[in-house]
Amino acid sequence: MAAAEAYNVTHRFGNLTAVDNVSFSIGEGELFGFIGPDGSGKTTLFRIAATLVIPSDGRMTLFGLDTVRDYKELRNHIGYMPGRFSLYQDLTVQENLDFYATIFGTTIKENYHLIEPIYKQIEPFRKRLAGKLSGGMKQKLALSCALIHKPKILILDEPTTGVDAVSRTEFWEMLSGLKAEGITIIVSTPYMDEALRCDRIALIQSGKIMGIDTPDNIRKSYTKRLYAVRHPEKYKLLLALRSLPLALSCEPFGDSVHITLPEGTRPDDIISILNTAGLPDASITEIIAGIEDVFLELMKRES
């Protein structure tokens, strides 16, 4: 049985369509990522999954239970972490965890093994008020609270937004650990690099899913040859490349600019053009497309 299935789910706020005819099927024990920018409809989709919002159209099931009709039963099995930090800031770490354990009808002791790898790290601060924790520790506490009742499915809405790089890495390692426990995890993130850690991902933009596959297959779906052009003066380089009729697509990425070239054009041609344009030290190398390259390509195709 699938852990989560969506059938043509659509949700509208007035004239705005936040989720647009979305369908997917997530297997049990899968770590599934929704990748998309802010405002792409991830939060609304997750709230529908968490039984908090009734979709305007279509329906979603978790373990075969309808998120609208069977919400009472489902709420026993969902671990939900909203996008915002939503624990009680005026309660201590320990009190928060105790509270969530009790309202889910369990105790910290009972499921301690499940949260141990995560909770261990914040346990020294258990007497501290949750509001006074750092961003990374807050996320760990929130995850502990979402896990304390041993949910069958974890729904994590942008858990790593606003968290430092080290904590983000740690957080994803924890998710891998939970996956090993057999818990299905649905997670959303605006960070493309985190996509690689998921079993499968869905690229979502303007409420529509543009593609669902494993991160590797998503990357392979990029059929054109992709080149990274580097030059110390990146902005000049970008302007120069954009003015080239030769470059089919041209996007700035970190310290380089990714371009695709039409048939018959060789990378060396670009270097010589840049030379004459006053950028003599440019270099060009062929690269394998990343998730973001695919995302941008798909976005263009949609519009």
């Binding site: 009472k72 972490m81 309660l91 969530y100 309202i103 889910f104």
Partner: protein
Amino acid sequence: MKRFMAFVRKEFLHIFRDYRTLIILFGLPAAQILIFGYAVRTDLTNASIAVLDNAHDEVSSELIMKLEASEFFTLSHNIKSYSEIDEVFRQGKIKAVIVFPEELSARLTRDGNVTVSIIADGSEPNTASLVTGYTTAILNDWSATLTNKVTESLPVINTEVKMYFNPNLESQFMFVPGVITLILILVCALMTSVTIVREKEFGTMEVLLVSPLKPWQIVIGKVAPYFFLSLVNVIVILIMAWFVFGLPVMGSISLLMAECMLYILLGLAIGILVSTSVQKMENAIFISFLTLMLPSLLLSGFIFPIENMPKGYDYFSMLLPPRWFVEIIRSVMIKGSGFSFVWKETLILVLMTVFFIVLSARKFKVRLGEGGK
């Protein structure tokens, strides 16, 4: 049940960790009692009085001198006839007019007793009762120094007290029922609506909803602590009223507490209703203040007597719970009435409570936003 208790415990932690909540809960009632209590002056110096001397004999002159010599009064008018009384009161400077009857001295010797009228400005009930009390004391003092040679007994000067503007002289401690009414509506409705909306605003409601907690557990768990704290508040106010201002509860205390519980329940129901309709704490405060605090201050009869209101407002005030509650608590606390005198008001409050509970239960959402029921 365990879940529910954990919820209540959490709620108490919130309250006791937030000093602002504590101030509103306990500081405010104390402050209000003291402010209202001491704003009512309890000492009397140089109150202006007028004298209508119909006797013009040695006794009346002596009494007038006595009054004037005391530090309590200043004689500012000598008036000639009854018709002037109204005018001096309307000018507002005179607190009381003392009327000596004709042939004062002769009647005192002949009959051994005589009646002096004290007409006081009842629009200031506190001052009025002080003025009449002091005047009576001074007159009695004087008569005690005489011994009637004929009857071998003390001549008696009776005083007849009349109130101008406020003939029944409503107690100056009328503010205590008003303060209780105000505090209860504030604590119950305002605080509960704010505390529920706070969960929405901080996003914790989302997590609570996605838990197996039933909606009633969430709502009752949130308001239960306020129910108990409100009761504690009532007791604190009553004790303060008694010890600081010497105002005991005339009627049955258990009846009073039962009525208070009913009113607290009503306030909580209104608070829950407000919380279901707003998303932000400021809005909850604003709505509670506008729809509850101001009407209960202005239209409940706490400050302005209902009899003096224009007709429309009178009917409007009937829709407001505080009006009925002030009525009940005045009867029970000050007049000492039993349940048979307040059952009608109580019934109205019960109906209102049921109405608001049903309405807020229907409006409470188990989901977010416009998701419906």
